[in-house]
Symmetry: C2
């Protein structure tokens, strides 16, 4: 005993995709000497645990007023089990209003263990595994496709052009699903500074996407982890343009405050019609499911976020200004390093890269495949790590692309890392 045959475990069906997430989480530790463009981590310079207790105390005063109890009691209550839905919903609503022009009732927010849990809860609450289909981009964030695999929910990918997801491709997928007796229930999109591509959906395409999904009764799952890190013009989120209440919005404080918090949220305002004609909010459904997945989100950590939001008057944009400047500088250093090291190949049309207007990532398109073995060679022999875009894709369309993250690396390292990467690329391009 103590041994189980693999074929009796659900796990056996989807092992490959699941390996990628752990790789992304742990790659930095695997090659400690290499310069890493792999990790979409925020800069550690801005973490400061010594302030956290002050944030908690600040929030505790606010919470005491909300609950009409003493501050001392409010602190004890923060230490306890608590409301499944969360305790900082009012402050998140204020932040969404100020930073994203999204007006939402705090009752329509559920605080989650990072945006990852928001994805888990959305699939569990909204999707019937044998009937419903989730549309995704290709490539796309592996966190959403991974949890869909685990829950056995079918995904279909939608082609993108330079402006975002193609509307005709969405319509074709709806029809394709219909023909096999299924329904497209949702579409997952990172409209601002996509992971992995770094690209944005254009304003016009956002409007077209909303019109199309409203007509086809498709929920748009808008994931917005990087939206506040914009270096030029800011586009409105899809959620802020949504007059039909069809957008379910995922947010996280991992990039803006600290990943260790594991505090994210989901905003959803849809109504469920019962058979007797009554309506109730889908938020209640999320709440029930969450109470059995993780019970509730850690309240100390919520209180830290609450304290930060109180201290910056709800606008994280102001809180983030130094961080955004750093990321912009890093992007500029990476772009100029790419130009200096690979500008010749670019001019010859051999390779190309995009110029992201915000976020953490640049996509580099190469004349040769860059997959796991290239990653390993590049890390071991040239001391630099980039992530194959293929890791985020379920076909071979993106085998020649590379995601480079500039968020987490010092400018000097960016220069050196790009120079090393260029050596690798020149070597391969010559053969």
């Amino acid at each position: 005993m103590g041994t189980i045959s693999e074929h009796t475990l659900p796990l056996a069906n989807y092992t490959d995709r699941l390996d990628v997430m752990n790789f992304l989480n742990e790659v930095v530790g695997l090659y400690p000497q290499a310069i890493s463009f792999a990790s979409g981590r925020p800069l550690e310079d801005f973490f400061d645990f010594s302030k956290w207790n002050d944030y908690v105390n600040h929030f505790a005063c606010h919470h005491a007023k909300n609950l009409d109890v003493s501050v001392e009691k409010s602190i004890k209550l923060i230490g306890q089990y608590g409301k499944t839905q969360g305790i900082i919903n009012d402050l998140i609503a204020q932040h969404l209003d100020k930073d994203e022009d999204i007006q939402v009732d705090p009752e329509n927010i559920i605080v989650t263990d990072g945006a990852q849990e928001a994805m888990t809860l959305s699939l569990l609450t909204m999707f019937n595994k044998d009937k419903d289909v989730l549309l995704i981009g290709n490539p796309t964030y592996i966190g959403m496709t991974g949890i869909a695999s685990i829950l056995d929910i079918e995904t279909m990918s939608v082609e993108y052009d330079d402006f975002g997801p193609r509307i005709d491709a969405i319509q074709a997928r709806v029809e394709q699903a219909r023909q096999v007796g299924k329904k497209v229930k949702g579409f997952y999109v990172i409209a601002d500074f996509d992971n992995p591509s770094g690209k944005c959906v254009s304003l016009e395409r956002r409007m077209e996407l909303l019109e199309c999904c409203a007509e086809k009764q498709i929920t748009i799952f808008e994931d917005n982890p990087y939206g506040l890190f914009y270096f030029e013009e800011k586009l409105p989120t899809i959620k802020s343009l949504d007059k039909w209440d069809i957008v379910t919005y995922f947010g996280t404080f991992s990039k803006t405050i600290c990943p260790a918090l594991r505090v994210g949220f989901v905003v959803t305002k849809q109504k469920v019609k019962k058979d007797n004609g009554d309506q109730y909010s889908i938020t209640e459904g999320y709440e029930k499911i969450k109470s059995f997945v993780t019970l509730n989100t850690g309240q100390f950590n919520q209180a830290v976020v609450g304290g930060v939001l109180l201290e910056c008057g709800g606008s994280l944009k102001r809180y983030l200004s130094a961080m955004v400047e750093t990321y912009k500088h890093n992007r500029d250093v990476m772009l100029s390093s790419l130009e200096a090291e690979l500008g010749d190949l670019k001019k010859q049309g051999v390779l190309s890269w995009n110029t992201p207007s915000g976020g953490f990532f640049i996509t580099l398109s190469l004349p040769f495949s860059f997959k796991e073995s290239q990653l390993v060679e590049c890390a071991e022999q040239f001391g630099v790590i980039g992530v194959p875009t293929a890791f985020f894709s379920d076909n071979d369309q993106h085998d020649k692309q590379l995601r480079l993250s500039y968020s987490y690396v010092k400018p000097q390292e960016i220069k050196h890392g790009v120079s090393q990467l260029a050596k690798f690329i020149h070597k391969y391009s010559a053969t």
Copy 2:
């Protein structure tokens, strides 16, 4: 748009059971004036956020040594995303050895968002929804049955006698499942100070349970949130008696340190045999699934737990001694109050209660049904809240029982609350 018909949501199938969890989480807020015996919460007197930063710093030194980095770097890494499996696994292993006589490799531990997530991960990793059955007690903790409902995994209940789950009942369920082409994959049990009953499984029954489950290839999911709160003799955990590696063990620091941490863990040592004959640890499977459910457990909170474990040399038993004294005193006050107020009815054989040797709960057996309407009447008109055991059951066998928690209430309130409850019971018993 913005409206979805209920029948198209998976949620519609299991709404009732899911309501109970939210009720348990939020009942204290619903009747703020009432004395609550409802909530299995730990005492707030022992929470102290002001020490948390010191715990984190203490752990950061230990972590720095483990990783061979500076303490400053170790603190930054705690703030980041991190290993899916957790960063305090070595300290949890030491604690299990010292407090529970469980010897386990840190590699076989996965740190989770409370024990609730350990249950979610276990079902996702181990169970095929159409083939596998989970055995449960009746009544049992709603967190396990709730997540099984959500994931559409069949549960079958097993009868208990005074010594624990009946072995013949387990065998009958195995046979019953076999006849419909299914397999009993696991058995969920709280062997120490059960929630809701407050009872323990006897030592002899623990051994029999192990023998039976080893023979039938059934994983025992041993959930042990209350085990360290023993007032008399301590029985060995089932895990510590397990020579077959068939026990998957759930632990939590919510009761021992603070619920707001949301730090729990799962220990599992089973091997999976691949088709080519290779074996790998099921821990890897848990790790992959966890990376898509919540990514990783909040590292600041892990560091708080790590700091506590370092400061108490791995033995929480010592750290808990004042808390355990308080709980024991509370139990004694509740038992003597029950004797004083309801001893007459007990002598007449009209009602009864057990004498728990640890944990948070007493079960009171009444001559009349105690369900939701009785709860509401008792709370509103008598100012005292108890939870119907029926809430933890899927049939009407336990409709006349009541779970009383003494963990969270001051002795004076226990006396007054029992006296109020006795008035309610005398009124009902007389009619």
